[in-house]
């Protein structure tokens, strides 16, 4: 027995030596993990902006097809979408980190940084609610405190957007002596220029006010938009956009140009867009201009000819005149080269917001003619700004009587046509289409995809994205309570 005990003691000693120390087991932290306390607000800002931009891009991949900027290869119209990339960008990659930025800003009294964070939250809520209608916000991104956030109505999301933007405006207009501010490299939009962030907040406020013409009454919404836009963007250099690099290439370039280069699936330019730019829907009457000079910036033909024939949505490859379509994305176009920007909101749009708001505030309707001089000037300035941005001459185009018809002859469709063209590849166009309920008075020539009658929702436009399947599976009660048919209108429609 003695020997047994001795051996047991030996075993136990060896065991203890082999180490059950705490340090020995502290190997469970991934090598890539960083503690939040070691990160500055600027360390978090870049990715948040990057994903804000990607959220817009993911939405436009479907909505650009709905809005007939482009169609799938062979002319295919997009079906039901859930723009799941946008949902992930909002809830996984922007809102949680913006919350951390705001907490950090509050700790040190960095009001301006907080304002930037609030503007970014507003943009993300905006694309979210305009895509899905009701979305989680007040209960969202609370991590383990709430795994099944309830959804807020679109109305309350809009309230939140305005409140965020108003707060941001107040903070940016006030002092901040904290010494913390977005730096030039992390602020991928304005490189630390807070005056531009302030103008962006006003411009965004105007955009979201104008979304509510069917809810608040056109005149009220328009006047509120006008009040905000007065302090909005003042030049193309104010554009809220992120520029890609040759290293991290623009996703539109990757999706539309690279794919085509290698004979792979890509989108093609829709006949509806071409019809707005080649005189089909809005005939040029001056005899000088036969084509919008921006068309060759957006698109190119298969054979390099000047005869642009866009693809009819759902038309199996035919163009509007019944012949084969031939128009693709431009290979080194303004929006389709490796280092192209993705634009959230531009100076040109600000001017069209002003023009549209002036038109409506002046009692304009979808069919009425005439607006204020200030509204007409904004319309012309918008065209000029956009063409300057794209690097084409606007003088001939603006000289054409069909474009410069005078304030008394301006129709809403003229403003919306220019806004449509200037907002190429911007999901805001899909809001405009829905806002005016696809009216052909406002959008002449707009038609349902040609094969719509064979689809699931004959005679109906898609008005929303469906909630992504992950949300439907993991937050089913709230999704079921808010899910509507893809063709049901959203609240502000």
């Amino acid at each position: 027995m003695k020997n047994i005990l001795k051996s047991v003691v030996v075993v136990l000693l060896i065991t203890l030596i082999s180490g059950c120390g705490k340090d020995f087991f502290d190997v469970n932290v991934p090598n890539t993990a960083v503690d939040a306390s070691k990160l500055s607000m600027n360390d978090l800002l870049g990715p948040v902006i990057f994903h804000t931009i990607y959220g817009q891009y993911s939405a436009e991949r479907s909505f650009g097809n709905y809005a007939q900027n482009f169609v799938g290869q062979g002319g295919s119209a997009a079906g039901v979408t859930s723009v799941s990339g946008t949902w992930s960008d909002i809830y996984l990659y922007t809102l949680p980190d913006l919350k951390v930025i705001r907490d950090k800003a509050e700790e040190v009294g960095a009001k301006h940084f907080d304002a930037v964070a609030q503007i970014l939250i507003a943009i993300n809520l905006g694309i979210g609610t305009d895509s899905y209608e009701n979305i989680p916000y007040s209960e969202a991104t609370q991590a383990s405190n709430n795994f099944t956030p309830a959804f807020d109505t679109q109305e309350s999301i809009y309230t939140a957007i305005f409140s965020l933007l108003d707060n941001a405006i107040a903070e940016l207009e006030g002092p901040d002596n904290s010494g913390y501010a977005p730096n030039s490299s992390s602020d991928l939009i304005y490189h630390g220029d807070l005056t531009k962030w302030l103008k962006a907040a006003y411009t965004l406020k105007a955009r979201y006010k104008l979304h509510l013409i069917n809810k608040e009454g056109a005149a009220k919404a328009a006047n509120e938009a006008l009040a905000a836009i007065a302090k909005g963007f003042t030049s193309n250099s104010d554009d809220f956009q992120m520029t890609f690099t040759e290293k991290t290439i623009n996703p539109w370039y990757s999706l539309e140009v690279l794919a085509k280069h290698t004979g792979n699936y890509h989108d093609v330019i829709c006949d509806h867009l071409v019809s707005y730019m080649d005189g089909t829907s809005f005939p040029f009457t001056g005899g000088v201009v036969t084509r919008d000079p921006r068309l060759p910036v957006y698109a190119q033909t298969d054979d390099g000819s000047d005869n642009y024939k866009g693809y009819v949505s759902g038309g199996q490859g035919v163009s509007g005149d019944g012949t084969s379509a031939n128009t693709d994305f431009k290979e080194e176009g303004y929006y389709t080269n490796q280092a192209s920007p993705i634009v959230v909101i531009s100076y040109a749009e600000a001017l069209f917001i002003k023009a549209e708001a002036e038109f409506l505030a002046n009692g304009g309707t979808t069919t009425s003619v005439g607006t204020t001089q200030s509204g007409y000037d904004a319309y012309l300035a918008g065209i000029k700004a956009n063409m300057a941005k794209l690097g084409v001459s606007s003088s001939d185009y603006l000289a054409d009587p069909s474009v410069s018809m005078g304030a008394a002859n301006l129709k809403l469709q003229n403003i919306m046509k220019e806004k449509y063209i200037a907002n190429f590849l911007n999901p805001e166009t899909y809001v405009d289409l829905r806002k005016y309920n696809y009216s052909t008075d406002v959008f002449p020539g707009l038609a349902l995809p040609a094969d719509n009658d064979q689809g699931e929702f004959p005679g109906k436009w898609f008005n929303r994205a469906q909630y992504p399947s992950t949300e439907a599976q993991r937050n089913p009660d709230n999704v079921t309570a808010n899910q509507k048919s893809p063709v049901d209108p959203v609240w502000w429609q």
Binding site: N3, I4, S7, V8, V11, T15, S18, G19, K22, F24, F25, V27, N28, T32, A33, A36, L39, L44, L45, G46, P47, F50, W87, L92, P96, T141, Q142, S144, F147, T148, P149, S185, L188, T243, E246, K247, T248, I249, S254, L258, A259, H261, T262, G263, N264, Q316, G317, Q454, E456, F457, Q466, Y467, S469, T470, E471, A472, Q473, N475, P476, V479
Partner: protein
Amino acid sequence: MKKKYRFLFLLMVFISATQLLFAQVQTVTGVVSDASGAGLPGVNIRIKGTTSGTTSDLNGKFKIQASNGNVLVFSFVGYDTKEVKVSGSTLNVTLQESVSKLNEVVVTAFGIKKETKALGYSVTQIKPKDIDVVGQTSAVQALQGKVAGLQISQTGGSAGGGVDILIRGITSIDPGRNNQPLIIVDGLPVDNTTFAGNVLPSSGSNATGSNEQFNFSNRAGDLNPDDIASYSVLKGAAATALYGVRAANGAIVITTKKGKKGKPKVNLTLNTTFRDVVKTPSLQTTFREGNRTTKIPGAVIDPSQPDGYLHPGSFAFYSWGVPFTDDSFTMPDGSVIDLSHDAFHSPYELFKTGVNNQLNFNISGASDKFNYFFSSNWTRDNGILPNTKFDKKTFRVNAGYKILKNLQFNTSIAYTRTNSVRANGGDKSVFSSLSYWSSTFPINDYEYPDGTQKNYTRGIIDNPRYFLEKSNQKSNLNRWIANAKLKWDPYKWMSATYSFQVDNYSEMRNRFVPPDLDVGTHVHGFIVDENINYTGLESDLLVHFNHDWTKDFNTNLTIGNQVTETQRNYNYIRGENLNVPGVDDLSNTINTFAGTSLTRLRNVGLFYSLQFGFKNKLFVNTTGRNDWVSTLPDGNRSFFYPSVSASYVFTQDLFKHSSAFTFGKIRISWAQVGKGPRFGKVGHYFISEPNFPFNGAGGYRASTASGDMNIQPEKDNSFEVGTNLHFFENRLRIDYSYYNTNVTNQIFTVGTAYSSGLSGVTRNAGDYKTWGHEILVSGDIIRSDNVRWEVYINWSTTHGKVVALPEDLKEIVFFGDRITAKAKVGDEIGSLYGWVFQTTPDGSRYVGSDGKWVITGSDNKGYFYTGTNQMVKVGNAFPDFVSSIGTNFTWKNLSFNFLVEWKKGGDVYDKGYRNALRNGNLLETQFRDQERVLEGERDDGNGGYVKNDIPLMITANSYYRDWNNYNSAAEVLLKDASWVKLRNIGITYRFKVKHMRSFDVFASAHNIILWTPFDGFDPEANYFGAGTNIYGFTGLTVPLSQSYTFGVKFQF
């Protein structure tokens, strides 16, 4: 002789002592040899009824003083004991290898050898001679169909591809965690990870993960099958409780060959295996490529055209065109297209015969002090697809040296090198392209003279052959496993063993995708170089004590300590945007992404095992283990779990005099095993944003995964009861087990709604149970010196059920698609959900006024694809039962074996099926452009239903491609994947040749007969790689093959 058998010999002596005989003593000499005629050294030879005896020498020769009429008892581990009466001075004896499982010694946890009768749990031991390992590249795959409760599936047909191993189904419902058993070689665990890495581009792939892209190897495949002396399959928690955390899914304990006393033995085996695809989806052979609405050909072979095709239509993609028998097509504008040269070309011409050549060499021997075994294996395998291969080289040295009388040193070094080239599977792969391919075009006509892709679709899908030639994954692996063991026997009642092992491998992988393949397009081609470096360190100390308290009562105590440390260093560099399209070199890429991850696990275990033996018929064993696990949070790191098992050999008491009932034992056990979470799952961190640095800005973001800081260890509580019954002198053997396991506090990553800001949380969530039955019946139909014929039957079931889930968790989703693998409370594990056709009250399919069926989820809102919550349970991925029947037959020098395995039930969704259906490629789409009245009932107009009589014109758009009314329904998509397979059949003839121990010629075939109602590639291949936890999906992977092996074996 090892001490554990001492009581056996005592028993023998005891019995013999009563039968002492006295006679004239003489010197008897002779040779003991095995069935092959080789001398057996170390055989115990005893005069029955006395204590005097001897052992045979190195050549099997022996010399003993005995009298005529004495009975000599020849006994040797692993051989049937033989009694021979002395008559004369020479006596040559041949011993047969043991088939009796009665006194068999099996290898249990930590290499502890135990008699089967003392085991209170189920262990199945398999000897390589009983299985057909020849021509297999995986040592574990050879166990297919051999062990009830062990399910082994190939995950794809790539040589060296992954093998999925499940013992008693899955016990961990974490979709991200695998359920692979622990693989133990010579008492020490070796890594069996299937590591998928990160092979996806930054955009342009829809794949959910890398694990569907290539048929990655599981690392147990690095073993050389020919080195294996035995396998023990430890199934239940009681069997593996000593191994602790890592063996919660069972263990496969492999023992490699050792040098045996005697002359040096040399074995040389040469064999060649030919492999072919065993089964392919049935295709329609009537209709050519053409538009799904207009039938306009999109492409017609025409060498005079610049790209080799005339393109009358704009979209060459579908096989919905006119019949091949039509010699022309009139276009809407009246022009006529010549189709007179069209013909059906099978796309399966893509496959070729794979050839596997193997050379196996080993030499072994031993003296009193020293033993050695050296082996090498060379395998070359050219796959069943062009430009795929798998080469493997292994070397192994096992050596032992007796330093002192009571101190033995053993060491082994195993080296493996593999080089492989693999084909791409999954989304946007060779196989997804193949599922779309129209049979109108020869598949092997794939490139233009300048090396660019020839493609009738103008790039909509990739040419599969071109894909194979240009894009693949290369892997190059070097692995060393070295260990040293010191065994010290200071006293008769005590021994101690210390073992240390290093298991190290490094693998370099390279995936190259040129810009013109779909998956590479969005990033203009990409290259992924990956480097995986694994080191596993293992230190085991075991001290054994045994004591016979009385003649009838003894105890065995083992105390042990195990320290395990593993570390995987993984880094990758992905280069995108190729400068020169065809150059596979990272410096040829413009944009690079890099990542590194370090996975470290540390585990210390302290354990004991105490066995009481009473009268050699009642055994009670209890174990306990305390683990300290690094993956748990600080406060919950240490946990203890016990087991208790008992076995009772009742035949000694109850059927003492029965000659028919030779042996009967019942066994019962209860055990607990604990488990921690996966690495790095506890806590919430910030991580570097993968797309950054971007334009000079660095960036971090919160991880979307989080882990509960108070996570508790998961506990498996297993109960098992079983019996071993042997009849007619062990000629009929039955082994039965029933088990059930309750798993509480399951740890897994619960997928969370993204709106919470997290994609998943790792925590304790829910209880789960498994249960099943296993029966093994084997019988020696003939057992004589010249003829031995054994037949065995395995049958097993495994079930698993979700007992409870936390209130906020409605279901666990393993994988979501049109068929979704998920489970709710009360569901069996493996449940598959889907949308189904609407039915009328009497169960008939409801037919709408348009003559079409209606899918239930498609409610009046007109959409059903927005979530999976309207899905209903439609099947289960796991079989109802698995059964096999096999036989081994030996007649003199001829031996023959076969094994048939039957899997009943188990549903799968073929991920390539819907593509091929929608494209008009499958045989079922041959019925088209004709009317059919779908079976079912329609509204009778008065609120009732009548038999449907509304004809439906069956076309691509109205039927096959219609997802609202047809191809989203589980009835269409989910298929019964029951099968019966002739796993192997083999024949060997042994020639006796001078100067050689033997010369064998053999031929065998594997998987040559497959019967299944499933139409497609062999459904055994899982869509996901080995080591995932997602079952129920197949297709889009390298198909499985049948094989024929021929070879020779020289033994000197």
